[in-house]
Subunit: 410 residues, 2 copies
């Protein structure tokens, strides 16, 4: 035993390595009902005009505009009503001088008509309609293609699908929407001390936390998690489980990465893959592994997170979430940098020699560091965000300015 990390890297180098990991996005077609919050994988062009035909924009009477030019409330013009055309119907008659056709909103404009006078400015009188105001040419008519012309770009590749965009897609009758497939991410908790939820607690054991937190954190990044059973901290068990998930795009393990704890993932990767990173100069989360599987699951990416739940989620947040959001095409969505500048509520002495991520609670406009160890799961649920301390800072005095960043997964 002893510190066997080969080459502790600084966090900026690790971010760079992760950002250049290879990933091939796949595409699929989804029923429009299920396309919400997915990402378009191609440009969508209008296959029809919108509206598809010249239609009434209001309930009223389709007329020849010039028939109304002298109409007023005092001196109405009388027009012969030929028929009533509701939305979805087609008029049988043509509007000629001195005639009109009643139309409901959305009904096609009858032949011969060049304006619609709103129902409020007309009155029925026997078989005739009294027009009480003049209308201009084209009034209350939505022309064919006046919103979108056939062939126009409607939505672009990479757009995040919200209900209003669902509206545009359904307007052209598209029922299957081309989207990016959610990357599949297998989540494995390792450790001999880990027991399944609902199992009877035994002395020295703890419940599996990481597979559930990471499962849901993976969802929050637009990826599809795959839940794994708990794996014992031995070479064969972990190797076999990794090979079992050969169809996943990415594997995330937690536990078994610390030099002291046996370092099983490292040994497995030495046999069937390649270690790109082992150890990051950060706190918490130093014993993190980034690797590639070379053998059975060619090119598959694997992240080995520390076993402590808070460390695992912090490393996930800082290093893995941005990558998952990139490959799931969610980068750019909701990524406004909602940082807040606050004063530190108390003196804080950071870890030596490593960049530190410090969880804080925000109260009375101050950042209160949460001084629990990484084993304390409540540290995260209490936190409103975190700030970073560069590695060479000796002390932060009370009242120092810190930039508090939000946690993606909150």
């Amino acid at each position: 035993m002893g510190n066997e990390f080969l080459n502790i890297m600084n966090p900026e180098d690790v971010k760079k390595i992760i950002s250049t990991l290879p990933f091939n996005k796949k595409v699929e077609k989804l029923a429009i009902e299920n396309a919400y919050q997915r990402v378009l994988s191609e440009n969508i062009y209008a296959t029809i005009n919108l509206p598809p035909f010249k239609r009434a924009a209001m309930d009223g009477y389709a007329v020849k505009a010039k028939d109304t030019f002298r109409a007023s409330e005092d001196k109405p013009t009388s027009l012969k009503l030929l028929e009533v055309t509701m939305a979805g119907e087609v008029s049988q008659n043509k509007v000629e001088e001195g005639t009109c056709i009643e139309v409901s909103t959305g009904a096609p404009i009858p032949e011969g008509a060049d304006a619609v006078i709103m129902i409020e400015f007309a009155e029925k009188k026997d078989e005739d309609i009294l027009i009480l105001d003049s209308v201009t040419l084209g009034a209350n008519i939505a022309g064919e293609g006046s919103d979108v012309k056939k062939g126009e770009l409607l939505l672009s590749e990479g757009e995040f699908i919200t209900p209003d965009k669902i509206g545009v897609l359904s307007a052209i009758g598209l029922s299957k929407i081309p989207v990016y497939v959610k990357p599949q991410v297998a989540v494995i908790s390792t450790g001999n001390e880990i027991i399944k939820l609902d199992e009877k607690m035994e002395y020295g054991k703890i419940y599996d936390i990481n597979s559930y937190t990471l499962y849901n954190a993976v969802k929050s990044c637009g990826c599809q998690p795959i839940h794994s059973e708990i794996v014992k901290d031995d070479f064969e068990s972990l190797k076999n489980k990794i090979i079992e998930f050969k169809d996943a795009d990415i594997i995330i393990t937690s536990g078994g990465t610390s030099a002291g704890a046996g370092d099983v993932l490292r040994m497995v990767l030495d046999e069937i893959g390649e270690v790109l990173v082992h150890g990051i100069a950060v706190k918490p989360g130093k014993p993190t592994i980034v690797g590639l599987i070379k053998d059975e699951n060619e090119g598959q990416i694997i992240f080995g997170l520390p076993g402590y739940p808070v460390s695992a989620l912090m490393i996930f947040h800082v290093f893995i979430a941005p990558f998952l959001r990139k490959i799931s095409s969610l980068n750019g969505v909701d990524e406004e940098n909602n940082t807040i500048k606050l004063k530190l509520s108390r003196r804080f002495r950071p870890a030596r020699g490593r960049k530190q991520y410090v969880l804080v609670k925000i109260q009375e406009n101050q950042a209160h560091p949460i001084l629990k160890d990484s084993g304390a799961i409540t540290a995260l649920s209490e936190a409103d965000g975190y700030f970073e301390v560069p590695k060479n800072v000796e002390i932060l005095e009370e009242g120092s300015n810190v930039t508090v960043m939000p946690l993606y997964f909150k």
Copy 2:
């Protein structure tokens, strides 16, 4: 025909009526994997201590602290190594004066030990361990219950479940999480002019937009939408469809609410329910209906939205979404009022006599009103938000200050 709205109400009164509609929340237990983004329906108390036992917070050697008090790098203290205890194991020996047990992070502290010295401050020498520094009593030990004590409140009813809270729930071994059931909302498009997506376009017809936009907007409010087939604009068809959805908590229709278009929903409600609102003094969306079903689907809430997609979604946003978010217990989540004060890019003449919701695009720090009619589906997909104009404003000059509000469903 003519203006047959019984009693156009002002929007504030309508909001009040909707906010007091009766709704009984139901609860269910969900597998923890599926609890993400749901809302806790009860307080959760710790059923065990966290950590559940006294454990090592670091890789190192469990010792009696007083054995290390004189240790230094120059003059190490030698302790006899009794055994190695990994996480998940229980030590067979007791730490006595002059002895130590190697422990990995998370391993139970052996009997007799009262501190852990980190691996970095010790060295192996034959069967002994050379201690290179002193440790204080309790150092690197996380006490049983030091994070959470059995019986403590962990999470409260109404909390939105994020991955960090999943962590707290799994830490106590809870595999089934009590959450509020998502309210079931049936979404029905009505209209003789509406055709199904993928059907061949015919003159005078348009594709069904509203059932898809509203289906997804309902999802965005934490409710479970139910998709309906298109319903013709006649009394029997709509009545039968409403009765068919008697198990839904809420029904949302679109189309068929305008006085001119035949007003089918109004007639159906006159027979099997009660109309609470018919007509709101807003633009767009005046012909909106709020009602209750009295007959077959006792107490069921029904919203009748206008047929135009933009009007339907705006009314959904302003009047219905807050209610759906309340009954799905999402009110309070993400409801920061992200309004932005901007200058209007051009003179704008609002509708007379009605409060108006004006969609805008934000460009160069100005609010550009989108001057498309409510029939233009792209108005919404282009919009970055909207502002409200009170009903008695005659004109807004270029450069006027407007408060732009975000759209929930974007």
